[in-house]
Structures are given as C-alpha cells and as structure tokens.
Symmetry: C2
Subunit: 256 residues, 2 copies
C-alpha cells in the first residue's frame, strides 16, 4: 500500500513552495514528522510558554509574523527579531540563557515539529538539510543587517530600510513591485526598529510629503520613488536634501 502524504501537510503552504523545508521531504518522512508534530493557529498576542518551548523548541512558521521579544526590567520592550513564512525557529538547548519570548504579532499559523524526528530527517535528507541550513544562515544575516540599521542610522533611514525588508519578504522576486504591505502594527514596528511610535508616524509623513511613498492604508504603502528610498535606506544623507528640492512641499495659497 502506497504511503500517502498527510492531509494536514497537503493543505500547508510550506509543502507546496519548493524552497521550503517540508517540500523536500518524502511521504514517509512527512508521515513520521507529521504524526509527532502539532500545528496551531495563533492570534495577536499569543505567546509560547516556557514549558511549551521546552517540549516543542522547533517551530515552523506557515503564515503570519512571529516575534522574539525582550522586556527590560523597567518595562522597555524590544522586538529583537521577526520570523515569517518559511522560517524554522530552532530554540533547542538555549533555554539556559533566557533569550526572550516568542509572540505572534497577528494571526499566524505554525507547526511545532518534534525535535527528535526533525533532527533525524535533517541528518538523513540532504535537500532538507540544505534548506534548513540556508534558512538559519539567512536568519543570522538578517539579524546582523538589522544591527546595522539600529546602530547608526537615523529614524528616516531605519524606516526606509524596514520598508525594503518588508518588500524583500513578500514579492521577493518582482523587481519593479512598488506596493508593499506592512504586516505589523505601528507600535510593533517602532519596537522592532528601536524608536517611538510617534517618530515612526512622523517619518511616514515625511516620506510621504517628499513624494517618495504614498500611504494607501495603514498597512499598505506604494513606493513612488524606489531609488530615492533606497538611497535614504543606505544612508546617503545628501539625497534627503535633493529630494526636497525636487519636490518642494509648498502649497499655493489662493488669492483673493
């Protein structure tokens, strides 16, 4: 009798997209992994308890955005990392040093993978190994690049950089795509790029007033001038002046 791919996996986007982990697995591997795993629907604010993470330290993100949050002793909160579809969060054996709370920033679907079966599959399946390895390195360099944004960039530059990060996450391929959706709330965005929500708001306004972006809705923006936004994100301070000259935001007052 032929081994059937589990129904749950058949319905999961991680199985369909060829560059994801689960798409590399054979039906037998999927059956084994699926049997010992737990999928879950999360809503904003849902967090994984320490006990849950001790038992299920490997989490695959199917959809939505998860975050790793840090709360300082006087209440300041930071979102240290974002995880999106395709990311495999591997929190094994790092519980010793407390590394933060894993919290959903909106509706999300995840699959908590059995660590032992996961490990077995990774060792046996070279393609799966490759995918998981690349994903972890991607996470590393994403974190390092985020550090660059946080270290020396100004508010406007950080926001520009974040917009490209969002753009990269979704369309990924489509070079000319200028519609970007911001998948998280302003407050979370502020906590991620290390500024205050008020400043985030002001920076959105500033980019808009310079004609570089347009705010369609709270979560959807259109980039009107990709090169200019890119230059700001890369920290070319001269641009800001130039753009201002190109688009002087003076209004013609009607005469009596």
């Amino acid at each position: 009798m032929a081994i059937e791919t589990p129904l749950r996996c058949k319905q999961c986007s991680l199985y369909f997209e060829s560059d994801n982990f689960c798409a590399q697995l054979s039906p037998i591997e999927l059956v084994n992994l699926n049997r010992e795993s737990r999928s879950a629907k999360l809503k904003r604010g849902d967090s994984f308890s320490d006990e849950s993470l001790a038992q299920w330290p490997v989490v695959a993100v199917e959809s939505g955005v998860l975050s790793l949050q840090h709360i300082m002793q006087d209440g300041r909160k930071t979102i240290a990392a974002l995880f999106m579809r395709g990311d495999i969060i591997d929190l094994r054996s790092i519980s010793d040093r407390k590394r933060g709370n894993l919290i959903a920033l909106g509706k999300a679907r995840v699959c908590r993978l059995s660590p032992s079966i996961f490990e077995k599959v990774v060792k046996a399946n070279p393609d799966a190994h490759q995918v998981i390895w690349d994903n972890l390195r991607e996470q590393t360099f994403r974190a390092i690049e985020h550090s660059v944004d946080l270290a020396k960039k100004q508010a406007l530059e950080k926001l520009a950089s974040f917009i490209f990060e969002c753009r990269h996450h979704e369309g990924a391929n489509d070079k000319s795509s200028s519609i970007v959706s911001i998948p998280i709330r302003r407050l979370d965005l502020a906590e991620y790029i290390g500024m205050q929500p008020e400043t985030v708001s002001r920076c959105f306004r500033e980019l808009e007033s310079k004609g570089i972006i347009e705010l369609e809705t709270l979560t959807t923006i259109v980039i009107k001038n990709i090169p200019a936004l890119r230059r700001i994100a890369n920290g070319d301070r001269s641009v800001e002046e130039n753009v201002k000259l190109e688009n002087p935001d003076m209004k013609i007052i009607s005469f009596a």
Copy 2:
C-alpha cells in the same frame, strides 16, 4: 601506515579545545581538510577581498577578533558583528547581496577552509555537524541579543552589556571572575555598540566614578560590583540612582 594528524592542526588551538569543530574530526578528515585549506596571520585592518571570500567563503577563527563592517554612503561606519575564537564564519552564496567587509580588529589567526571538503565533513561527521550547527545558532542569537542592546538601551546600559559580552567570551565558566579584557579599541567598540567614541569614554568614566568598575589599563577593567553592573546592563534604571547614593563620589578635601 597510520594516518598522522597534520602538524599545522596539531599546533592549532581549535584542535585542542574539545568544543571546537576541528577537535571532532578524524585524522583522515583533518588531513583532507588541511590539505585544501589555508591558514593566515592577520594584523589590525587586514580585510578579506571579495575575490578571496568568493573562493574561501568559510573562515575559522583561531585567535583574535574579526569584524563584519558596513560602510554607509556618507561614510558612517558600523561594526555589525564580532567573531572570536571558535567561530566558523560561513559566507557561502551570500555574495549576491553585499553583506559587509570582514576585517581583523587586531592580530588574529584564521584558517580558511575549503568549502567542498568542509561540506563533505559536515555531512559525514555527526559530531562535527552538531558543533557547527550550535555555533551558527550561537551566532544568530548573539546577533539578536546585540539588536536588543542597540534598539532601546541607553549608552551606559549598552556599555555595561558589552562588558558582560566580553566577560562571557573569555572566562565563560568562572562565575566570580571580575577581571575583563576589552579585546578591541575604543573606536571599534563605539562602532559596534552604535555610539560615538567620546560617549564610550564618558560612560567608562561614569561607571568608574560610581565605583562599579575600575580601569586597570585601557584594555583591562576590573568589575568591582558585578550585580550593579548586571542591573544596569539589564536596563534597571532605578539602580543608577541607588548606586549613586551608596557611593557618593565626593572627595574629602584636606584641611589646612
């Protein structure tokens, strides 16, 4: 005829410390990897050319400190990550998006590993695989924790946090060790924690004036009050006041 561990490896600390990658390898594996690899001595400022990294994208750090630097278009420089002994820097196939320059911050020894042999060994040797996987995850979480420091912490808190990072790197085990060596220059330190060298200097003085640390030399400090430094690093703002009260920095002026 028995296979001899290569001389070069016998003299390398990565081979002696049991938790390092090379210590997991069999003599045969070492011979193969060693034959196709290149070790190098670096001095401060030495950087890996793009061509070098294209051919040798896997670098093992034997001693010293390497950095991943980002230069913005207007000249602002950021040190995005630090790598120290035992770290394996894997820059394979990420040359597409430019990820920064790998530069030594002082005298350092590295071993550039042949990517193909490295890959072969990792797949064949489970112990080596475990070590390299743990190291990569360690790098990821180090970067994420660094983001926490950069995002919301104040100057003094960032410096305190960095001191613990240094302490963790060297002694690692010795809980009570209060002597910490700062392995990089003030300027590099400033670029790593995202502040100006002047501010770094002022913060060292402030910690000293509060009696929390003592500056032995430029590169050696003694922590006089570990819990207080820890609380500052964790962002407990109330501490700063308390310490001030406990150690009023007034000097008794000698009377005539």
